[in-house]
């Protein structure tokens, strides 16, 4: 864990830009993610937040700019390899294996990063992977429904499953795209606790619309609008920023 003030950047972007045809979804975005820090990205619909996550996770190629992980440029590394470099993401729109049991959803996530596993071994006999998966399910509070087919879980449970899948790979950088959306208040509280717990060992990029939640957990914030960075700083600075208030926060501050 980093001491205050000497936080070390794990992931950084420089002038990151992504165009879709004529539309610039992400324009010249520079930010850093430090270990032990939760960095929240907020902004209205269509601001480019999900596109930013897609760029960091490798699902989208940058049109310009750099993505640096532990000092190395990873802009050209495909998505699946970035998982092995320690980047984990959850999806805004639930992206699970609906016909498989919840436990198997998470077990697959753990298997993806397991080293030296004999692929021809019966999956049922690999207890280590199952234990990893069970631990991740327990962390998000889904132990009770491990055997249920994921598609039959409630909306909120599926959102939690999404998080468990991301955790099971033990990433060092967590990219969470609106994890709260679709969760009930109780589940949300659990997630708040979980994030505060996780942030000690991880660098977390959190995208979230719920301002109370964001201001409660964020160490630093980036405000985006129409692809560009409007403001960056500590939550108190953001709250006090006139421009941000006008553009996004409305009467909130």
């Amino acid at each position: 864990m980093a001491d205050a003030g000497t936080a070390s950047a794990i992931l950084a972007t420089e002038g990151l830009t992504r165009r879709f045809g004529g539309l610039v979804a992400v324009r010249d975005v520079s930010l850093t993610l430090n270990r032990g820090e939760l960095h929240a990205v907020i902004g209205p619909n269509g601001a480019g937040k999900t596109t930013l996550v897609g760029l960091l996770a490798g699902e989208l190629r940058p049109s310009a700019g750099r993505i640096v992980l532990d000092g190395a440029d990873i802009g050209g590394v495909p998505a699946w390899k970035r998982t092995h470099l320690g980047i984990g993401r959850s999806f805004q729109r639930t992206n699970i294996f609906p016909t498989l049991p919840a436990l198997e959803n998470v077990r697959l996530a753990a298997q993806a990063v397991a080293r030296g596993a004999n692929l021809l071994r019966p999956a049922a006999s690999d207890t280590k992977l199952v234990e990893t998966a069970q631990a991740a399910l327990a962390r998000v509070g889904l132990s009770g429904v491990a055997a249920r087919v994921a598609g039959t879980l409630s909306n909120g449970e599926q959102r939690q499953l999404e998080i468990a899948m991301t955790l099971a790979a033990h990433p060092k950088v967590l990219l969470l795209d609106e994890p709260l959306a679709g969760m009930g208040p109780e589940e949300g509280q659990r997630l708040t606790g979980l994030l505060k717990d996780l942030v000690r060992e991880h660098a977390i990029l959190l995208i979230e619309h719920d301002m109370d939640f964001v201001f409660a957990v964020a160490d630093r914030m980036t405000v985006m609008a129409e692809g560009t960075v409007l403001a960056q700083g500590r939550p108190d600075d953001i709250r006090a920023n006139r421009e941000v208030q006008d553009a996004y926060l409305g009467g909130h501050a």
Binding site: A79, T83, T99, L100, Q111, N118, L120, A123, A133
Partner: protein, 332 residues
């Protein structure tokens, strides 16, 4: 995909036993027909690893089947018979290498495009054998059938015993292929294929190189198709370009559809039923293909899970379970 209940395992074992007993009471004609059905079952089963297990639909699968049969032809240029222990591994190797090449290029695409690219590759192989003289051209060619021999020993067979021996070799290989696939789908590798079938995009995000896994499945499926193609050569002693044509691939797909996409035994059921259906249709009418088509259509519409969706009455199976893809495997 895999048999779960005790009832279904017993039903499968009983089916295998029944097939093993067939030569004891069937006429030579029906033994030959049975061999053909078993070979068709192997081809359909090999394709099921792609279609039902991984979610890849290929229209070029017969290329690997046919190439194996042609490999047997190439291995016996002088008419001297070769041992199955030589021809089978080499035929399977040839099919695997072709599958590696075709898969490496076509698996960059998905869905409809993949269907078209595999079709194109299959037709290229077809025209190599159709338009050149290397395999006897359009008319095909006779070949010397592999014999069951090891070192100096050879299984002595009379003319009447030989088809029966071929039947049993095909049956043993089919059962072995089925058990191999059960093992494969239960393994960590099989779970990855399942994940790819359900949600490939998520698998990539989880850190799987889905391309590599799909390619591995494609090569294994091609090699298994090679086992079937080799048996065809041993059964018929003849090769022609039809063996590699897209018709044969489409027929294997129909058998899978008929038997059921969601299970491993489905393609076997489908192949046996399809072969039997063809035989009956031929007896009843001159429009065999029309009857076949109508029956397949009816089954697919009436039984969404194909013939393997048919269930024994509840009392017989202790615990009737919903079949098909949505059925969760007992994971973990």
């Amino acid at each position: 995909m895999l048999p779960q209940s005790l009832g279904s395992k017993i039903a499968l074992a009983a089916g295998a036993l029944l097939l093993a007993l067939l030569p004891l009471f069937a006429s030579p004609y029906y033994v030959e027909l049975g061999s053909y059905a078993l070979i068709a079952a192997m081809l359909a089963l090999s394709l099921q690893l792609l279609v039902g297990a991984t979610g890849i639909v290929s229209l070029g699968h017969a290329a690997f089947y046919g190439l194996a049969a042609y490999t047997v032809y190439f291995l016996t240029p002088d008419g001297a018979p070769r041992s199955i222990f030589v021809t089978l591994p080499l035929a399977v190797l040839a099919s695997g290498l072709l599958a590696l090449l075709v898969g490496a290029l076509s698996l960059r695409t998905r869905g409809f495009f993949l269907l078209m690219v595999t079709l194109a590759f299959g037709q290229m192989v077809f025209f190599v054998f159709h338009d050149t003289k290397i395999g006897g051209g359009t008319d095909g060619a006779f070949l010397t059938r592999p014999i069951i021999a090891l070192f100096d020993w050879q299984l002595p067979l009379t003319r009447r015993q030989r088809p029966i021996a071929v039947y049993y070799v095909a049956l043993v290989l089919l059962v072995a292929m089925y058990l191999f696939l059960v093992m494969l789908l239960r393994s960590l590798f099989g779970r990855v294929l399942e994940g790819i079938r359900v949600n490939e995009h998520r698998m990539a995000a989880l850190g799987y190189s889905t391309y590599r896994y799909k390619l591995a499945a494609f090569v294994v499926a091609g090699m298994l198709a090679g086992v079937a193609g080799h048996m065809w050569a041993m059964h018929r002693g003849f090769v022609n370009p039809e063996l590699v044509g897209w018709h044969r691939s489409a027929e294997a797909l129909l058998m899978i559809l008929l038997g059921g996409l969601g299970t491993l035994h489905g393609p076997i059921l489908g192949a046996l039923a399809f072969t039997g259906l063809g035989e009956i249709a031929q007896l009843l009418t001159e429009r065999k293909l029309l009857v076949e088509g109508a029956v397949v259509l009816f089954v697919v519409l009436a039984l969404p899970q194909g013939l393997s969706g048919l269930r024994l009455p509840r009392i017989l199976t202790r615990k009737a379970e919903p079949a098909g893809r949505l059925e969760p495997e007992p994971h973990g």
